[in-house]
Symmetry: C2
Subunit: 412 residues, 2 copies
């Protein structure tokens, strides 16, 4: 028998307790011994629960309990989660967390403490919810140099974009529906502004390339500016728009990291991933493209990834297992202006012939995209692949145009 504690009895924390209780026989078999939830930290009380006696409001009850060898952090947010996790590690307890904000901000520090003290700090649930991704990336693809990772890392925005494409909804309508169904929070900014996807992108980049990448190093655009017109143009190109978190490994062990809406060809497997599903594509030099798809959020999917980590820690209770990255390195993440891109550019021209002449001068012989019922002075075209900086500079120099909007096209 091994005793664990759970910090936070919210969606994920209660799901962890539920799975450990409901699948106890199966989990005992997998872990090699029973796992007991000895303590649960929450400020609320749950007198109706059969395990009501396990609750405490005092973190020190958990920290001081030497029986408790593993702590699950499911509180979310940076504080006090960071302080509690650090204290647990310093008290020689292994930790499992689903908290992407914590791992993206403090992963290197917490991993270093865990390594020094021969403990495990695991966080499979922090990226892709229930989808196995960090462990496969670290272990199963260990023989590969990873060239790129690209993923749909946020279920809320993927649900919204799916509704915008399949049911013609606008952004506001799609957001309202997502909120009504409980997929989006009342303050949806972490989702729709790309912050959540950014944190997950950081975790993937840090793990795949061995050094911490911080959210402030990653260029991040959300989906708040995506309109029905964008959807129309993407469809006219034979594509869809997905919010993509992307990490590209380039010369000198440098990285391009970005979160941005991108137009994907419907041939791309990621384009087929709809509703709240998440997907991560990993491109290895030996294995080629591998894609992992599943539910990126939700109580039981996320909790099942947490419990898998707990089982792994029980099996490795006396030995560190894996997962590590060092501190970050300034300048390692390159400015997105240096990244290669092609964009779908849309603009309103005072004089379309004059605008086309400028486009030809700047970008050569481009492909124009048209949609039914567009204003006659609207032009949309696909740039060649060049650096983002060069595209932006060329567009900024245009005369006699307004409403210039550019959407990245994912080129695999």
């Amino acid at each position: 028998m091994i005793s664990i504690a759970v910090l936070g009895h919210g969606v994920v924390g209660s799901g962890v307790v539920e799975i450990l209780r409901n699948n106890a026989a199966h989990i005992t078999h997998k872990a090699g011994r029973p796992i007991e939830v000895k303590r649960i930290l929450d400020l609320r009380e749950f007198p109706e629960l059969p395990y009501a006696d396990r609750f405490t409001k005092n973190f020190d009850d958990i920290l001081a309990d030497e029986d408790i060898r593993i702590v699950v952090e499911a509180m979310g947010g940076l504080h006090p989660a960071y302080d509690f996790v650090k204290a647990c590690l310093l008290a020689d307890k292994s930790v499992v967390t689903s908290n992407k904000e914590l791992v993206a901000a403090k992963g290197d520090e917490l991993l270093a403490i865990a390594k020094e003290r021969n403990l495990n700090f695991l966080f499979e649930a922090s990226v892709g919810g229930g989808i196995p991704i960090l462990r496969p990336l670290d272990q199963c693809l260990a023989a590969n140099n990873i060239n790129e990772i690209a993923g749909i890392l946020n279920g809320t925005t993927n649900f919204m974009l799916t509704k915008m494409f399949e049911q013609g909804m606008g952004f506001d309508e799609a957001l309202a529906l997502a909120q009504q169904l409980g997929y989006a929070e009342r303050d949806p900014s972490a989702d729709v502004e790309g912050k959540d996807a950014c944190r997950k992108t950081c975790i993937l980049a840090s793990l795949a390339y061995g050094k911490h990448v911080s959210p402030d190093e990653v260029y991040t655009e959300g989906i708040t500016a995506i309109t029905k017109e964008d959807v129309q143009y993407a469809e006219a190109m034979g594509g869809v728009i997905k919010l993509i978190g992307r990490v590209v490994h380039t010369e000198g062990d440098r990285l391009y990291c970005m979160v941005s809406p991108m137009i994907l060809s419907t041939d791309n497997l990621l384009a087929q991933v709809k509703d709240v599903f998440n997907a991560v594509m990993v491109r290895g030099d030996s294995v080629g493209d591998v894609v992992f798809v599943g539910r990126g959020a939700g109580k039981l999917p996320t909790a099942s990834a947490v419990v898998a980590d707990v089982i792994d820690e029980v099996k490795h209770i006396t030995a560190r297992k894996y997962l590590f990255w060092e501190s970050g390195e300034p300048g390692r993440v390159l400015d997105h202006a240096q990244a290669s891109a092609a964009k779908l550019v849309r603009l309103t021209a005072e004089d379309t012939a004059a605008a086309k002449a400028q486009i030809a001068t700047a970008f050569g012989d481009v492909t124009y995209v048209t949609v039914p019922n567009a204003p006659t002075n609207e032009l949309a075209f696909i740039t060649p692949t060049m650096t983002e900086g060069a595209i932006d500079a060329a567009l900024a120099a245009f005369d006699g145009v307004s409403g210039v909007k550019a959407l990245r096209i994912y080129i695999g």
Copy 2:
């Protein structure tokens, strides 16, 4: 430094050596120490290779070498692979193999020897080539009761079916192209008759449910009977045909296991997996559906999975890690006649009104499917979901019909 041997310098074996040499620095970092290929067993000679001095034609050179702690079996086939792998385990060497025939036939015996001797016997590459699937199934989804596994497990047949759907090829033409491109062997029976997919289905079933499932227990149909007409009807239903290996867990810890062409709705993620790509869907009670997609064959993808196993064994050289199943149990795999199914049935009627009356009597108010240019006396309809045995019995009792053909419809 750890010394390994590779049995067989064919496609996979040479790929293993290539990856270990080309990615040596990265792999040393991952494994914690360098990995040296000390010996390679092959009856052929490769004097042009920089590592020509490592070759031997005598298995005993490897077996007797106490330096060699890990042996990669990449010969394929049952004999002498089985004999060599068993001898290696009995000589206290851990083994990695990509040989699905071996694992499907002898997995339980070899795992038992490995367990008894505290060794690792790993075979990630045996299912899905380079796609991480066995390790995630065993570890990452450990908190789940697995309800079902369904996968596209054979790249050759998926390539052929893709060509039959997207380019209107017939079976023979698609096979000829697959052979021309090196995807199919001159004797394609293991692929097109479903034997290869059957072996992989057995491995998935054995691992997920803890007891050995043998190929002879799994009802197996290949794609040799799939015609252009089947393709037309599947398209008319809004679906595609995929060769699916499926394991369903049912009451009393019994299993339905089957390999068969099935019609999948194009909404199903597996339907989007084209060409030589493989995919495996795992349905857990907590996580829901998780899908793994990638290249299921090929030199480097397969070899990269083998090398990942080698790295894992190096990291666990003194301890058994995971992966185990017991011997099989007679009667655990149920007869497919008891499985639930819906089928698309096509037949030629002497009298269509009379045939429709019989159909209504047997199956109730069915949906008819029509395609352009079909013979006027051809009828196609979708049965309700019932047992396969009941469907087959009802069809066998029909009067005045001929050419009855039934295609399973995948119902998730």
